[in-house]
């Protein structure tokens, strides 16, 4: 693998989306679990566990989208116009989720809070599902015509394999969020989350195993890729070890390490996904010759170079203050006047 600008940007876009999955993943997961308790105070604690950080987490998606637009405009254009309705649904879900967090605790009425609680939870679940389905379609392959335009339909995106990836994503984020919640809470809610986390881990493991079997049996180009490059097994192995380590650490009460393992699970899953499609960005099925690759869909080397400078200045700064903000808001959540 020759490390040219196109490859670097393939990796960087991947890093941004992986960062998104790792960070927004846990707050989407908290959203999915939100309705499991019906005590107002516990719901507020859940909300405030992600209160200061959810907004910054979502910026990873926005920046990932921007980077995709700038580095691979053809991929951006084909995917966004091709997945039109799916993406508008995703936008609606993300909007309802975002404003629900902000609006929910602004009024004391029961109907008001119930309405935004449902928005928050449904929005979170739907966002996770749609992100997973979109990713699943890219992995499976989508019909692309000779002009690089999407040649399928909305209903054609709802094939069993992408839907399975969608459900797995929901399970993954719920597990990730539950473990995060365990770290951020205390008392009765903490104990509840511990039980939910265990169930979410089981749910996720079932999904992950099913998904792996489905990939090997029904996605021939992915299986072929692994056959040609046996070293890919080491990434898959790392992924399995990361998954197996989650329940192990969790039952020893090492919640922080369980969370890190969950992060490692997400990173290795995304790495597997990226290595399987590389150097394609959109694998065209049934006409592989129409695939959009990191070369035929990319911006000019000049732009990729300029963007690399921008990223080189921006990313270290972003990481530095992201870490400091997580540090300022470390520890268990306590409700106060400023809380949601």
């Amino acid at each position: 693998m020759h490390l040219d600008l196109n490859t670097i940007w393939f990796i960087l876009v991947g890093v941004l989306f992986t960062g998104y999955a790792m960070l927004d993943g846990f707050d989407l997961g908290i959203g999915a679990l939100h309705l499991f308790t019906n005590k107002d105070e516990e719901r507020r604690v859940m909300l405030n566990s992600i209160g200061p950080v959810w907004d910054g987490n979502e910026v990873w998606l926005v920046t990932g989208g921007g980077a995709l637009f700038a580095a691979f405009p053809n991929v951006y254009a084909t995917v966004f116009s091709g997945f039109y309705l799916a993406f508008y649904l995703l936008l609606a879900a993300l909007i309802f989720r975002a404003v629900a967090i902000e609006f929910r605790s602004k009024q004391p009425m029961r109907w008001w809070r119930q309405m935004w609680d449902v928005s928050f939870s449904v929005g979170s679940i739907l966002s996770s599902l749609l992100i997973g389905v979109a990713l699943g379609n890219i992995a499976w392959g989508v019909p692309v015509d000779a002009n690089g335009e999407f040649a399928g339909t909305f209903l054609g995106l709802l094939k069993p394999y992408p839907l399975l990836v969608g459900v797995t994503t929901v399970a993954l984020f719920m597990m990730h969020g539950a473990i995060y919640g365990v770290m951020k809470t205390e008392g009765g809610l903490h104990d509840k989350l511990r039980v939910w986390a265990t169930r979410c881990i089981i749910f996720f493991v079932i999904c992950a195993v099913t998904l792996t079997m489905a990939a090997l049996l029904f996605v021939p180009h992915m299986a072929a890729r692994v056959r040609e490059n046996p070293w890919l097994f080491s990434v898959a192995l790392a992924n399995m070890l990361a998954i197996a380590n989650i329940p192990r650490e969790f039952h020893h009460g090492n919640d922080g390490r369980a969370f890190l393992s969950s992060c490692a699970t997400i990173v290795t899953l995304m790495a597997l996904f990226a290595l399987n499609i590389f150097p394609n960005m959109i694998y065209s099925l049934p006409n592989p010759e129409n695939s959009l690759t990191i070369y035929n869909a990319a911006s000019s080397p000049k732009t990729l170079g300029i963007m690399l400078v921008i990223a080189g200045i921006g990313i270290p700064v972003v990481l530095a203050y992201t870490v400091s903000i997580y540090w300022i808001f470390r520890g268990k959540v306590k409700l106060d006047r400023m809380s949601y």
Partner: protein
């Protein structure tokens, strides 16, 4: 309706709704820096209360601004895919820079601004407030750079032919400092400062009318009226600069703004009137020579008329004319309102002049309408071009998106946006009725400790 009309309506509707909020975030962000700065400088707890109250309003506008902003980023790809392919190499980098430099900064430090009051010291909190305001301004920089490139493209060349032609960067700094970007940036920022300042002024005037929270209202008014006056005056200066840009770079647009059909020296500036498109003339009151002066700093220089352009290259005249004159009219009214308010506030007789207080209460709508009309004028005046002189609007549409699909998303988002707007107004009203919190007169947590100097 066809895909083109629907997509244009959808983009117009989503960006107009979005643009209610960013000016408030930018304007209030700048106000928060001043308010908190005044608290740190004077130690007067009322400024602490002021900063806390307006932070809560800021949070409300910010949340909807972010939620509706993501739609814009998606929409380039969903509805204008051909445009995205064509300009991605140039336009995309500005958007990506906005994400990395501005959005992370804003959202990261917002956490400390909103939730960090008791967790960090005074200086750290003030620093975070500055960073949030800085991030909001910085995001304006990149998005205005991107939009100005569509108005006055520079620093690029066209590579490839026919369907595979696209714009590629030749010089990044020429893209950033394209001929109109900086003047338009300052004009937009002045509009945003006005939006924030007049909101503060309006609510404070309301409290004075109701004789509630008077100390709070006076402190807010002091900051609000000062910023409103400075920003509305600067608005006229930057507006003049922008008009000169338009005259130089987009003469058809300026001619449409003024309904000027024949190239005229000593060209008049229409103060009030309308365009008679059939007879190709303007009916109304005009100041002779003023348009020549506005455009070229010379009362006698000729101004290019619409007839110099082929009919298919002209923007819609009546719409451009009305949007532009609406914006200018509101702009000058705001200068008058801010001056009067400032004058009587300094004299100390403002609370007795109830008519002026009522005027100030309603002045909040002024910048909102002027900002919207200004953007309408800028974007409608750019027509029929999507990228000025390079790509026409219909050419940018997505190839695979059908009309009924766009109609579906348009109906869905119209419904969502009406709902959001209703909730926003409801909550904003609730916050205003509730008023500032008296507990905020006493800083708590680490903020209670004075900053070490």
């Amino acid at each position: 309706m066809d895909v083109l009309t629907l997509s244009r309506i959808q983009f117009g509707a989503t960006i107009s709704f979005h643009y209610i909020y960013p000016p408030l975030s930018i304007g209030l962000g700048a106000m928060l820096v001043i308010m908190e700065g005044l608290w740190l400088k004077t130690g007067n707890p009322v400024y602490h209360q002021v900063a806390r109250f307006w932070t809560r309003v800021f949070a409300l506008t910010f949340a909807i601004g972010v939620a509706t902003g993501i739609v814009m980023e998606f929409e380039f790809g969903t509805n204008w895919a051909t445009y995205s392919r064509f300009v991605g190499d140039v336009f995309g980098s500005a958007l990506a820079a906005e994400g990395i430099f501005a959005f992370f900064l804003e959202s990261g430090f917002l956490a400390v601004l909103l939730f960090g009051w008791d967790k960090v010291g005074r200086k750290t909190h003030f620093f975070s407030t500055c960073m949030v305001a800085f991030g909001a301004h910085f995001s304006a920089v990149w998005i205005i750079v991107a939009n100005s490139w569509m108005q006055t493209p520079a620093g690029y060349h066209i590579v490839g032919e026919g369907m595979h032609a696209r714009a590629e960067i030749t010089d990044f700094w020429q893209l950033v400092f394209n001929p109109s970007s900086m003047d338009r940036l300052f004009h937009t920022l002045c509009g945003a400062w006005c939006a924030g300042a007049f909101l503060v002024v309006s609510v404070s005037a309301w409290y004075l009318l109701r004789q509630k929270h008077q100390e709070f209202a006076r402190a807010s008014l002091k900051v609000g009226l000062t910023v409103a006056l400075v920003a509305s005056l600067l608005q006229a200066v930057t507006g003049h600069k922008s008009a000169q840009d338009v005259a130089r770079n987009q003469p058809a647009k300026l001619a449409a703004f003024e309904g000027l059909y024949n190239t005229t020296s000593n060209a008049p500036l229409v103060l009030a009137g309308w365009v008679d498109e059939k007879n190709e003339k303007v009916v109304g009151i005009a100041a002779p020579g003023m348009l020549s002066f506005l455009a070229h700093n010379d009362f006698h220089m000729p101004v290019t008329g619409l007839k110099e352009f082929k009919p298919e290259d002209r923007p819609p005249v009546t719409a451009s004319f009305l949007f532009f004159h609406g914006m200018v009219g509101i702009g000058f009214t705001l200068i008058a309102i801010a001056s009067l308010g400032f004058l009587y506030f300094r004299k100390g007789t403002l609370p007795e002049r109830r008519w002026l207080l009522w005027l100030l209460v309603f002045s909040v709508l002024g910048p909102q309408f002027a900002n919207q009309l200004g953007w309408f004028a800028a974007e409608v005046g750019r027509q029929p071009w999507l990228v000025y002189g390079v790509m026409r609007t219909p050419e940018g549409l997505s190839a695979v998106v059908k009309a009924n699909v766009v109609l579906t998303s348009l109906i869905m988002f119209t419904f969502i946006y009406f709902l959001l707007f209703a909730v926003f107004i409801y909550l904003l009203n609730d916050k205003i009725q509730h008023g500032p919190d008296d507990a905020d007169l006493i800083p708590s947590g680490k903020l209670a400790r004075p900053a070490k100097n």
